[in-house]
């Protein structure tokens, strides 16, 4: 369980940013490996792409879209903090980033089929 002194919006935003970044870093090598199939063996790539049309992969992709969205929006928030004058509405920005990421991920899965 999270320790009491860490249980606030700013720290949750940090955790989301860090773990979404790690998740994306783990995903990228797999992504490039699959792209590499296009050079190596196009039929392998085609069969892999057919496999990705299934529900479990689409659900995982929804998670990936969420990670991308939260990392992008969280990163923009951090850039705002570091390069623009301080805004007191950081919690609003954190909630917006989290909410928008959920909506983006949900929109992806709704349009996936």
């Amino acid at each position: 369980m999270i320790r009491p002194h860490r249980n606030h919006a700013g720290y949750w935003a940090f955790l989301l940013h860090r773990f979404s970044g790690l998740g994306l870093a783990v995903f990228l090598p797999a992504h490039f490996l699959v792209l590499g199939l296009a050079i190596e063996d196009a039929s392998k790539l085609d069969s892999f792409l057919v496999w990705t049309e299934g529900l479990p992969v689409k659900a995982a992709e929804m998670g990936l879209v969420f990670l991308l969205a939260i990392h992008l929006l969280g990163g923009l928030r951090l850039l705002m903090i570091e390069f623009l004058p301080w805004r007191d509405w950081q919690k609003t920005l954190i909630v917006f980033a989290g909410g928008a990421s959920v909506v983006i991920a949900f929109t992806f899965i709704v349009n996936a089929f």
């Binding site: 606030h8 700013g10 390069f83």
Partner: protein, 240 residues
Amino acid sequence: MPTMSALNVSVWRGAADGRFETFEVPHSTNQTVLDVVTYIQRLLDSTLSYRFACRVGMCGSCAMTVNGRPRWTCRTHVTKVAPDLRLEIAPLKNLPVIKDLTVDMSDFFTKWQRAKGRFAPTKTRSDPVEKIIPDSQARQAADAGIECINCAVCYAACDVVTWNPDYLGPAALNRAWTLQNDTRDGDQRQRLRAVAGDAGCHACHTHQSCQEHCPKNLNPTASIAGLKAAAFRAALTGKL
């Protein structure tokens, strides 16, 4: 003060390798955490070590970890932090424990010096008094951070200090930022250099724990962000 019930209080005893000891303390209305510690020291165990001075939130000496969060104990009401009447009181984190609830603050204050948290005058007492426009941007930025009471609550709440013991910490950087915005100060370039290193402002992960816990409602995260931007601008213009 009418006594309502008993508090179950676990208090850290010994140095870093110590343990919690449990006391039963009468609970009363408007009781602060410092009242509880003082009751234990005066009536239950006179060997308990802790610090306090003003008891009104000015001196910054009574900060402790209360139920897992760093707090100024003289202004922390028991009813607000322990609705179940259970208190766990420990020394501040990120500072070496001397004994019981007292910590060695040397590192904390040494870092104020490392961050050049000392005003460097540019005039003598013979010069006319400098005119400071109260609503100027620099003065507003300085005003926002100058009420720090050196309690080290922000320092204890900061995970970056835990991960990197060399990190200057929120209080020292906040102090540096107030001086960077003091138009009378003559050490701004050297100070920016002092806080722009590896263990300086750029090490901050923007957790905002300092802002969250500051008992004076200051915002060291904003001060550190200001230093980051100032250091970036200075680096771009070759002034760092």
